[in-house]
């Protein structure tokens, strides 16, 4: 239950919070991380260090010796002198994030050494560092149904498909986390940056702050990981992983504004700049539509902090899914129905058109988040759709055999009216039943389609397949 700070450069130590955590300042911590061990600190929960003055490998080693899992201990680096209040706010956030850490396994520790150490020259090895690699829970993965969203979004080609499952190459992975926010079924996770951790960190900072604060998402590799002028850092593996939901969720928690910049200030090494800009633009567009001002979400942290829109409990924010956050913001701002294009966000409205949809159910079998479902009952069939679950992945379009006839359309937009409706029937029809055994044969619409393909010369065949099931023909 300890927040540990490097007390060099007269860094103030914030007061401990009774029953929550102790704050401990240690001189010389950055230059000698084993000072944690020498000070007898066990299981430290968060660190505040000075920028450019420590070696992460040594810090991780000291944390291990102190009984902590370095992959779960958040670190903030200070560029200059913060106030005691700022440290208390940031520190409280880090502690909350650590306590929401779900734990990591050996498969999550990705070894990072300087690239391509020559074996010939036998360079001295540096202390290895570890970053958190994602993992895939195969029982949740929709790859077998055709979902390839993680593969398509992975900037390093670390994910491939084979033998009915996603294969993951930890060597190739750059641990950017994009696959985790792209996955519609939450099968892919990064235990150091789960929605629950991010929400807990932000909520704790807001709770400690007397005045409005801004949240700045920054990359793991960004330096400095700073805060100041009422803006507080929240680290993510790569800002390219941020979705519209992640960018807007802090506003639900009582944050005045959100910013997210590419790492190093000079552009994302992974080429995710455009992705981040699209997301920010989309999130700012939603803010405009909701009438709360586009400057709520920005790429840079300059400018006045607006008064927070409101505040709901952290538990109510959930997993920061785009549609959930959009709906919560709509409710919070008491906005009338809003519909906005979702070019970058994960949302969609599926419509099945009666004149060409044959009720073949293909779309329901491939929909990764089960937004499209089928219900069958005696003599009828209906397909339902829940816009709150749709991630706009287009797999329904890709699989629809009647897409050229316009059987299915996907409108990629957030629509508060549609979201309020929840799951509803989008297509219904009758099913022909076998005159002999009573089993269903096929949807009448599908038989109609077959009739149009066969033509009148095969009327006898059609008559047979319309009256009898396969077993009774």
């Amino acid at each position: 239950m300890t927040l540990v700070l490097c007390a060099d450069h007269d860094t103030p130590v914030p007061p401990s919070v009774d029953g929550v955590y102790d704050a401990v300042g240690i001189k010389g911590l950055c230059s000698d991380p084993t000072a944690i061990n020498k000070a007898g600190v066990t299981n430290p929960e968060a660190l505040i260090l000075h920028m450019g003055e420590y070696d992460l490998g040594f810090v991780q080693s000291a944390l291990r010796k102190a009984g902590a899992d370095p992959l779960g201990v958040p670190i903030i680096t200070l560029p200059d002198m913060p106030t005691e209040t700022e440290l208390a706010i940031a520190g409280g956030g880090l502690i909350a994030r650590r306590r929401a850490f779900p734990g990591a396994g050996p498969e999550h520790a990705k070894l990072v050494w300087p690239e391509l150490i020559s074996r010939r020259k036998l360079f001295a090895l540096k202390v290895p560092q570890y970053v958190v690699a994602p993992s895939i829970e195969s029982s949740l993965c929709a790859a077998a149904h055709g979902c390839r969203l993680c593969i398509d979004s992975c900037p390093s080609g670390a994910l491939t498909y084979g033998d009915g499952a996603i294969s993951y190459s930890v060597d190739t992975c750059v641990a950017c986390g994009i696959c985790t926010t792209t996955c519609p079924t939450e099968a892919t996770t990064n235990p150091s940056a789960t929605p629950r951790q991010i929400v807990a960190q932000i909520a704790a900072m807001v709770a400690q702050a007397e005045d409005p604060i801004g949240v700045r998402f920054h990359c793991r590799d960004a330096q400095p990981r700073m805060f100041g002028d009422s803006w507080y850092s929240v680290e993510v593996p790569c800002t390219g992983m941020l979705t519209v939901g992640w960018l807007l969720a802090p506003l639900l928690l009582g944050v005045g504004a959100v910013s997210a910049g590419p790492c190093m200030g000079s552009g994302c090494a992974l080429g995710n700049d455009d992705r981040l800009k699209d997301r920010c633009s989309e999130a700012a567009g939603i803010c405009t539509e909701l009438g709360i001002g586009a400057d709520r979400v920005r790429l840079a942290q300059q400018g006045q902090l607006p008064i927070p829109v409101g505040k709901i409990p952290a538990e109510a924010v959930g997993t920061m899914r785009d549609t959930d956050v959009f709906m919560a913001l709509t409710t919070m701002t008491s906005s009338s129905a809003v519909s906005i294009g979702a070019s970058a966000g994960f949302a969609g409205i599926v419509t099945l058109h009666e004149e060409s949809c044959t009720l073949c159910e293909q779309c329901t079998t491939v929909c990764p988040p089960n937004a499209l479902k089928v219900n069958r009952s005696d003599g009828s069939i209906e397909i339902t759709f829940d816009p709150g679950l749709c991630v706009g992945c287009s797999m329904c379009i890709a699989t629809c055999p009647e897409i050229e006839k316009g059987a299915l359309t996907l409108d990629r937009r957030f629509d508060s009216d549609a979201l309020t409706v929840g799951r509803h029937v989008v297509r219904t029809g009758s099913t022909a039943t076998c005159e002999k055994c009573g089993d269903p044969i096929a949807p009448s619409a599908m038989l109609g389609r077959i009739q149009s393909m066969l033509g009148p010369e095969h009327a006898g065949t059609l008559d047979l397949i319309s009256r009898r099931c396969i077993s009774c023909r």
Partner: protein, 229 residues
């Protein structure tokens, strides 16, 4: 103390020791062996073990090792958990128990394949479980021998031998240990055994995961330098 391996040669020697100690830990726990394990663990911790990620899983086993007061308890558990040939061993410590169907005669295939691999590696199993070619201790000892060979090749600046050995290490890890150890360790976890074995499984698995990362990193370097295709 706690000196980090300075070169890949040192690292290979350290890894050799790690495989050696895990191999010995799955042999019958006679008092002399437990003493050797403690001194071996001390040595490895002085070679930079705390700098590596699996130290977190190593520590509980280390504590369990130091806390063994009555060797008999551990010996009894060894028989219950691992003794081959005893019907109903909780966690058979052999590869074929997890990858082969005995009814279809696949055990022999696994053993024959391993015999071929050991011949290719120019290794001849000896010692306590030499007849059981797929025993966890033998397979870990094979990795230990390969690491020793890699260290020697690096010491002699024998590029070709280094690369060949790295390829052998990687293939043996990927095709054998990583295939069945997870299930073996899972069986240990559910067996509610003494702390010595309950903590040994996670420590071994964490090390193997880490070591595969180390070997892959080195083979990737070799690929870029053009010495591995």
């Amino acid at each position: 103390m706690n000196k980090l391996p300075e070169t890949f040669e040192d690292l290979a020697r350290f890894r050799q020791g790690m495989y050696k100690i895990f191999s010995a830990a799955f042999l019958p726990p006679v008092p002399e062996r437990l003493g050797d394990l403690i001194s071996g663990a001390d040595t490895l911790e002085g070679m930079g073990l705390p700098y590596l990620a699996f130290y977190s899983e190593w520590l509980p086993w280390r504590q369990a090792l130091n806390s063994v007061h009555d060797v008999i308890d551990v010996e009894v558990e060894y028989v219950r958990m691992f003794a081959t040939g005893v019907a109903g061993a909780m966690s058979p410590p052999t590869e074929s128990s997890y990858t082969a169907d005995p009814i279809r005669g696949e055990v022999g295939e696994v053993l024959a394949r391993l015999r071929g691999i050991y011949n290719d590696f120019r290794l001849e199993p000896t010692g306590a479980v030499a007849d059981t070619l797929d025993h966890v201790s033998i397979e870990l000892e094979v990795m230990s021998a390969l690491c020793a060979r890699e260290s020697e090749a690096r010491s002699n600046e024998n590029e070709t031998q280094t690369v060949i050995t790295l390829k052998h290490e990687r293939s043996f890890l990927e095709d054998h240990l990583m295939v069945w150890l997870p299930r073996f360790v899972e069986r240990i976890a559910v067996a509610e055994t003494v702390p010595f074995y309950a903590t040994l499984g996670p420590a071994l698995m964490s090390f193997i995961h880490h070591d595969l990362g180390v070997v892959r990193f080195q083979t990737k370097s070799a690929q870029v330098e053009g010495t591995i295709s």
